[in-house]
């Protein structure tokens, strides 16, 4: 078999780019939060120091081999779901494996990581972690519904479940799906708020009450790997939403602009909002976003 | 002027003849009782005189009289008069009856006094390790327990405190100002003396 070395190169450098962009975004978020709170805030590259420091911790403990595997599951899910998303429009280098997967596969691939992570968290035996997992899974049931409604409405509107086809239909600026079906976009963004896990939907990791919840037993290299996969996963989700709604990007400049603007939506929402309780969050997702999603589908059908 | 206080004191005197009652000032009545009269007195004050509120319970160590004094401070909401009921008990293996049936919060006070003064309250089943963890010495709040001696032989005393033993002398030494006469007799003895 002949190996397309360009693709292999893309497979290698895409996670690295995603890591750097994601970590930088994390630092930016901390800085912007600080500025809004009238602080100076940490430098933009702060999260790099954090991750390097965590990797250079000299000792680390685990409560069993399932906890050892948890971060591995997480990073596997992050990088794999990144591979199946076309990072740049029609570029051989960055459309990694996006031709052999589709949206429904992606929805499930994204769950893979959190499920494996939940296994690892479960073995720590920390009650706080278990409470956090129970809250997180319950909230996932909440925001998956509007997410799926939005995706289904778009799938039946354009008769495809493949991201590349969705990119193909949004060739012009006016063809962006955010303009073609704005209600689906609103629904998707509301679900996106829950996905990113910033306030008001950060009850699973509530640091004050749960001792940082699920990750409270993870330190050193395990926490470092989790932070890495979290950065990559953030980038993957942003690129996914950009591809679906904002017409993807032709070059990295556009990509960075679009993803950053998209990222600011949950971040700014989070900074100025208090925290929902779990059941409040679930009911929120089951009220307006679900109604909007149904409206979006109805609009498409008729 | 003090008619309410007098009224209360007369009622108490009528009921408890042995009580030594003294009206300290307005809204302060001090009642000295025998220790076996404290439970009836508290119930009487609570139910009949309507002193529903237990402000405080405390304990005083009268080392010279070889007695411990228990002080209950009750309050009446209407007149906001406070009754200070005192009683003396034996100091060696002190015994008293638990009064938590009158005010449940007394249980916590009793646990503390059991730990700090070694008083044994019968009827309180939660007497035990309360604040001091694995304390194996005599109750620390008794006055014949030498706190500094215990601290010196238990904890490491970092050197360099000596010059701070008498703050005024130190200040004067550093800043040349001379110490007033009255301050001389308050000078604390040095650690190295004992």
């Amino acid at each position: 078999m002949d190996i397309n070395w360009l693709k292999v190169l893309g497979l290698i450098i895409t996670p690295i780019i995603a890591f750097f962009v994601g970590v930088t975004y994390g630092g930016l978020v901390r800085n912007i939060t600080a500025r809004i709170q009238n602080r100076f805030g940490p430098p933009v590259y702060q999260n790099f120091w954090d991750i390097i420091k965590l990797y250079s911790k000299k000792t680390s403990i685990h409560h069993g081999w399932m906890q050892h595997l948890g971060p591995v599951f997480a990073i596997t899910a992050s990088i794999t779901s990144l591979y199946f998303i076309p990072v740049l429009r029609d570029s051989v280098l960055f459309s990694n494996l996006s031709f052999s997967g589709d949206l429904i596969f992606l929805i499930y691939m994204m769950v893979f990581g959190s499920l494996g992570m939940a296994m690892g968290i479960g073995q720590t035996g920390n009650p706080n972690s278990a409470i956090g997992v129970s809250r997180g899974l319950s909230m996932m049931v909440g925001y998956e519904i509007p997410f799926v409604l939005a995706l289904v409405s778009i799938m039946i509107q354009f008769h495809t479940t493949s991201l590349n086809d969705l990119l193909a239909v949004q060739s012009k600026f006016t063809d962006w799906i955010i303009f073609q079906s704005p209600i689906a976009f609103i629904t998707g963004i509301l679900a996106f708020l829950g996905m990113m896990g910033y306030k008001p939907f950060d009850v699973p990791i509530a640091p004050a009450e749960l001792a940082s919840g699920p990750v409270s037993e993870f330190g050193g290299k395990y926490l470092a790997l989790m932070q890495t996969s979290r950065s990559i996963f953030t980038f993957a989700k942003l690129v996914l939403f950009t591809d679906i709604f904002l017409g993807g990007a032709g070059d990295f400049g556009t990509l960075v602009v679009k993803t950053f603007l998209l990222y600011m939506i949950p971040v700014l929402t989070g900074i100025v909002n208090p925290r929902f309780r779990t059941e409040q969050a679930i009911r929120f997702f089951w009220k307006w976003p679900t109604a909007l999603g149904i409206i979006a589908i109805l609009i498409v059908v008729w | 002027m003090l008619e309410k206080e007098n009224k209360f004191s007369e009622q108490i005197q009528k009921t408890f003849h042995s009580a030594k009652i003294e009206i300290k000032r307005s809204k302060r009545i001090s009642v000295q009782l025998r220790s076996d009269l404290i439970p009836p007195f508290l119930s009487y004050a609570k139910e009949l005189l309507d002193f529903k509120h237990l402000s405080h319970m405390s304990c005083v160590d009268w080392l010279e009289d070889n007695e411990l004094e228990l002080v209950f401070i009750l309050m009446n909401y209407e007149t906001s008069i406070q009754i200070i009921a005192k009683t003396r008990i034996e100091r060696e293996n002190a015994q008293f009856v638990s009064l938590k049936k009158f005010w449940p919060q007394l249980e916590t006070y009793e646990r503390e006094f059991h730990e700090m003064y070694g008083i044994n309250f019968e009827g309180n089943d939660r007497l035990g390790e309360f604040i001091l963890e694995d304390w194996n010495n005599k109750p620390p709040m008794l006055r014949d327990f030498d706190t500094r001696k215990y601290a010196n032989e238990t904890y490491y005393q970092r050197p360099g405190r000596e010059d701070a033993q008498n703050v005024r002398e130190t200040v004067s030494k550093h800043s040349g100002e001379e110490v007033p006469e009255f301050a001389k007799k308050y000078s604390i003895r040095n650690i190295d003396d004992e």
Partner: protein, 185 residues
């Protein structure tokens, strides 16, 4: 028990320099706030004296924390918890004694129930004097700790590991019924 290597020679390798630089710039603080000094932590962390400028961040659990900040006096009861918390932290880990009480007992120097010198029981990297030290002093102390780390001298964990018997002896002198698990990071 494997003892992480101690850099005996002053000349650090480039990797260690990078690592120490990262450690210096990201200090996750586990504040043990039973003493009166805990009131000084909120102003240090929040907008007035924004400690996050230096990468100093609060941490909720000892597994992720780098700095154990002891704010004020420690009674024999709380000392046990503090030792447990310190032993659950992951090396390299640093201790900051905060306030006079951790240095020499402060105003509780002759109390029957508070320890006087924290460094007899835990390897303290930096002491912050004062009763209480103001937030500027706290940040000053953190910067001192950062310099210590950058010079590669922030090896309190190794110190604790090596002189474990001495520390245990002191600790057991205070804590009579010693029912603690062995030191496992």
């Amino acid at each position: 028990m494997v003892t992480p290597n101690i850099n005996e020679k002053d000349k650090l390798r480039i990797r260690e320099i990078v690592e120490n630089f990262a450690r210096k710039h990201s200090l996750w603080v586990l504040a043990y706030g039973t003493g009166c000094g805990a009131i000084e932590i909120p102003p240090t962390m929040t907008s007035r004296y924004d400690a996050e400028r230096f990468g100093i961040r609060g941490s909720a659990t000892p597994r992720q924390a780098d700095v154990l900040l002891i704010t004020g006096y420690l009674s024999t009861k709380t000392l046990k918890r503090v030792i447990r918390t310190y032993e659950q932290m992951q090396a390299p880990k640093y201790v900051i004694g905060f306030g006079s009480c951790t240095i020499n007992g402060g105003m509780y120097w002759d109390s029957y129930n508070t320890i006087n010198a924290l460094d007899r029981y835990l390897p303290v990297d930096v002491y912050i004097n004062g009763c209480m030290p103001r937030p500027e002093a706290v940040i000053q102390g953190f910067i001192k700790l950062q310099n210590i780390i950058a010079e590669g001298k922030g090896n309190g964990a190794e110190k604790y590991q090596e002189n474990l018997e001495w520390y245990r002896e002191n600790q057991k002198k205070i804590i009579h019924n010693w029912q603690m698990p062995d030191y496992n990071w």
